[in-house]
């Protein structure tokens, strides 16, 4: 979550970070490597959770930092570097989600990490009462159903919900990252929660 500790940490690192950015813009590979170290964990965490695949997360990491390396000269300190790098990553993740969504069209069966098939629609539309989910389904299975419900969202709704619920970013920041307004981000979040509730109705 984007707690006060992390914000404070970012503020403390801002001054040397600006130096690193300038050095990287001047062509210093060491400075760029230092920037990668600062953000790689967050980039991988986001990509991994969004795509659910280590392979995809690795590809997004690679592409995002290569892009950042190529275009760091264009960074003009108009927004924070954190927002700038997240913008690159979220765009790549959105592309990946769109590609996945196309592949998943007309497919209600999702394959989990271990290769087992889960019939999402069947499980979600099941009217059994999951008053105690821990008792009825193991946590892994529940997690997979949540993931399946998340996959039903549009890539943009999925991204806003991810950045808000799981990554704990402010809606204003999310709007900046997705090149939209805070108001649009609010509406998208509202739509996403509504859809999720209807998808997961049977699990409550």
């Amino acid at each position: 979550m984007d707690g006060p500790e992390r914000v404070q940490e970012r503020q403390q690192t801002r001054a040397p970070e600006a130096e690193l950015i300038r050095e990287a813009q001047a062509g210093s590979r060491a400075a760029f490597d230092a920037l990668v170290r600062q953000y790689e964990q967050q980039v991988l965490r986001l990509a991994l959770h969004l795509t659910g695949s280590e392979h995809d997360a690795e590809d997004i990491y690679q592409e995002a930092f290569l892009k950042a390396f190529r275009y760091i000269g264009n960074f003009r300190f108009e927004c924070s570097f954190y927002t700038w790098i997240y913008r690159i990553v979220t765009n790549l993740c959105l592309d990946q989600l769109r590609r996945k969504k196309t592949r998943r069209e007309d497919q209600s069966v999702v394959v989990d990490h271990s290769g087992d098939e889960i019939d999402v629609l069947a499980s979600v539309s099941d009217n059994r009462s999951f008053s105690n989910p821990g008792k009825e389904l193991d946590r892994k299975m529940l997690g997979e159903r949540i993931q399946a419900a998340l996959n039903k969202l549009t890539p943009r709704e999925r991204m806003v919900f991810e950045l808000k619920h799981y990554q704990g970013l402010r809606l204003r920041t999310i709007g900046e990252m997705l090149n939209t307004t805070e108001e649009t981000a609010k509406n998208t979040l509202f739509r996403a929660t509504k859809k999720l509730r209807s998808q997961l109705a049977g699990l409550r």
Partner: protein
């Protein structure tokens, strides 16, 4: 507050996106609206349900693997050239500029580029020969060319690596140098000899030949260091009369002992374009005027030369010969 707005604010409130005032208004509405209270419970339930799909920290192996792959990819990216960096810095500043200053800057850059290219061509033409005699400053292989093109003497090779964008260009640069030392300094003497042939300015040649001639007359360095050869070359081929005159003065002490010097002076008597140098050369021949070759030349000049002063000077020397003998 109506229920539609309340539903929206319930979601925002659940994620801490409401102001204190909005949160207070929502609480008041919820206290009097069981339907919206139920809505809030549902949103909270969704939040706790979504926690069943937690965000996992990427494991160390994944980070290491990704990092390694990225480093390999970054290593393969060719370094930016100076003009790319220049282009970037211009692009950065261009947003804040109006069209006219941008055009002015572009014209300035084009002008500077043309100027440096012209300088490079000129320097290459005039100084390529000098570079061949001086140790060129060879830059390290991977050093980017960030100096002005005018400093580059020549490009020695261009090789493109197969299946790659990498191109290796080897080039030589002219680095201006300065040296100070006495006339006895071997480096200074070497440069003075070089200057007699290579200096484009007659003044520089005049200075160098004058200094070498003085050394020769003083008896320093005319034995084995090549001063004498340099002076003979200057006497024969230098375009400037003053330089040839000084070379002749420097050779004077060696006319009697060195046949080559004698021949060079005889050539000057016969062919030099400057009558003063020819006259001076005739007078220098006095110690060897009895030699057959010298007498032949002097006779020829005394009888056939179109310049009466030269004819007279030759006759005078020839006339003194029996007395000397």
């Amino acid at each position: 507050m109506n229920c539609e707005v309340a539903h929206e604010r319930i979601v925002l409130g659940a994620y801490g996106e409401l102001t204190d005032e909005q949160a207070h208004e929502l609480e008041r509405h919820l206290a009097s609206c069981p339907e919206c209270s139920h809505e809030r419970q549902q949103v909270r339930a969704l939040q706790s349900l979504a926690a069943a799909h937690p965000v996992a920290e990427p494991d160390a192996n994944l980070i290491a693997r990704s990092r390694l792959r990225l480093e390999e990819a970054l290593d393969a990216v060719p370094p930016k050239r100076w003009y790319e960096r220049l282009g970037e810095s211009i692009a950065k500043g261009v947003a804040g500029l109006q069209a006219a200053p941008v055009a002015a800057i572009l014209l300035l850059i084009i002008g500077a580029g043309a100027g440096t290219l012209g300088g490079y061509e000129f320097a290459q033409g005039r100084l390529a020969h000098v570079v061949a005699h001086r140790p060129p400053a060879q830059p390290p292989d991977s050093q980017p060319v960030d100096s002005a093109p005018a400093e580059i003497a020549n490009i020695s090779s261009i090789v493109r690596e197969p299946n790659s964008e990498l191109i290796e260009v080897r080039y030589n640069q002219i680095v201006p140098q300065r040296i100070e030392g006495s006339l006895h300094d071997p480096a200074i003497r070497q440069l003075l000899m070089l200057a007699t042939e290579n200096a484009s300015s007659a003044g520089v040649r005049d200075n160098s030949v004058g200094l070498l001639a003085e050394e020769c007359r003083a008896g320093h360095g005319c034995k084995g260091e090549g001063f004498r050869d340099v002076l003979m070359t200057s006497l024969r081929y230098d375009k400037n009369g003053g330089v040839r005159a000084k070379a002749l003065e420097g050779l004077q002490p060696y006319v009697s002992e060195d046949m080559r010097v004698r021949d060079a002076v005889l050539e000057a008597v016969l062919y030099d374009s400057d009558p003063r140098i020819r006259t001076a050369a005739i007078s220098i021949l006095e110690p060897v005027e009895a030699d057959t070759s010298v007498r032949q030349v002097l006779s020829s000049v005394a009888n056939t030369d179109h310049n009466p002063h030269i004819r007279n000077a030759s006759r005078e020397v020839l006339g003194r010969a029996p007395v000397i003998q």
